[in-house]
Symmetry: C2
Subunit: 182 residues, 2 copies
DNA sequence: CGAGCACTTGATCTATGTCAACGGTAGTGG
DNA sequence: CCACTACCGTTGACATAGATCAAGTGCTCG
């Protein structure tokens, strides 16, 4: 009874906070996690990008701590592949989680344009292409307003830092090529 | 050759980024972690409070990822106690790290006074007492300026949300009792 | 065709940053 | 003991990045 890979569309919920489930490896896409308070109010908690492990905590509790939703089209593979996670695999996950947390913290400090660019860099693949989430999602991650995001993205475009490209199945305002790779 | 517990004063470095060392349990106090870039520039990465594990990543790499420094007086005990960490202990650490990361992210969003109060709550012990770090450290954590922190702390005091108390060995401007426990 | 949604853009407001001055305290050295 | 300095914290006056409010565009879907 090995579980099947799973794909999701942008905006859809992958799992609810507190629901039962297993762990996955995010093979492709970007996932947003939210803490859900007792009163139902949700606040942005973390981000997973391609290669990250999702729902590690189910190995301990059997249910998810955060609500997860897809920011772009995603593909999820069952994890761990073999069926059991060994010690050093877990340590690697822990290390990655710490790094990711530090990166996300950096996206909430300093000048607005630097934060947005930081997020774009984080989401850019090795080929230099990005599919951005909606302006509102970027706003939630960076703690800015969607109007501010809109202005900044447009300005980065005018400054030729990013260049709009067309990928099919994706809104024209969301796929870009990043000029300065690093 | 079991390692000894260790204590540190506020402001002192516990370990450098990249230096060799082992893992600890923070028995008492508050520790700040910073990412250190290649150019030497440091940026706030995370926080450990009493009970947290520090330097888990040394089990994998043998050296620390972040720079750690004491924000208050700290006591560190060697970890894991038995000598080896088992699977579920690591999972618990991972879970705690995720939660902590989400909490810290929340301290960088929304109104300035709510952020500072959020940090104060995070640092308050079960008896309702807090020893705050320096204004500048609070500013680094919340991405505000120390003048702003100073104004907010004073205002919380005027509003009777916090009440200054005197603990010896601690600056008079840093120890408080929190009025509304939760 | 109309409704809804994501995005853009302009005008204005305000929370927080910035700069500057000052006060208290601990340490240091005469 | 008294200067003298260094450091942390407080407070005021003013500047500004980004929030807020409002209007308009273009797309998709029924």
């Amino acid at each position: 009874m090995s579980r099947q890979p799973r794909t999701t569309d942008p905006g859809t919920e992958i799992h609810a906070a507190g629901s039962a489930g297993k762990a996955w490896r995010l093979a492709e896409g970007v996932v947003r996690f939210d803490s859900v308070a007792a009163d139902g109010h949700a606040s942005f908690a973390s981000l997973a990008i391609a290669g990250d492990i999702i729902g590690c905590e189910t190995l301990l509790f059997g249910c998810y701590t955060f609500r997860a939703s897809a920011l772009t089209h995603c593909r999820l593979d069952p994890w761990p592949e073999g069926g059991v996670a060994d010690n050093s695999t877990l340590l690697a996950s822990l290390h990655r989680a710490q790094q990711r947390a530090a990166d996300l913290l950096a996206l909430r400090g300093g000048q607005a344009s630097a934060r947005v660019l930081g997020l774009i860099r984080l989401l850019t693949d090795r080929s230099g292409r990005v599919v951005l989430p909606m302006r509102q999602e970027i706003a939630d991650i960076t703690d800015l307003r969607f109007e501010t995001i809109s202005r900044i993205v447009k300005q980065l475009e005018r400054d030729r830092v990013i260049r709009p490209i067309r990928l099919d199945g994706v809104h024209a305002t969301r796929s870009f090529a990043l000029a300065s790779p690093r």
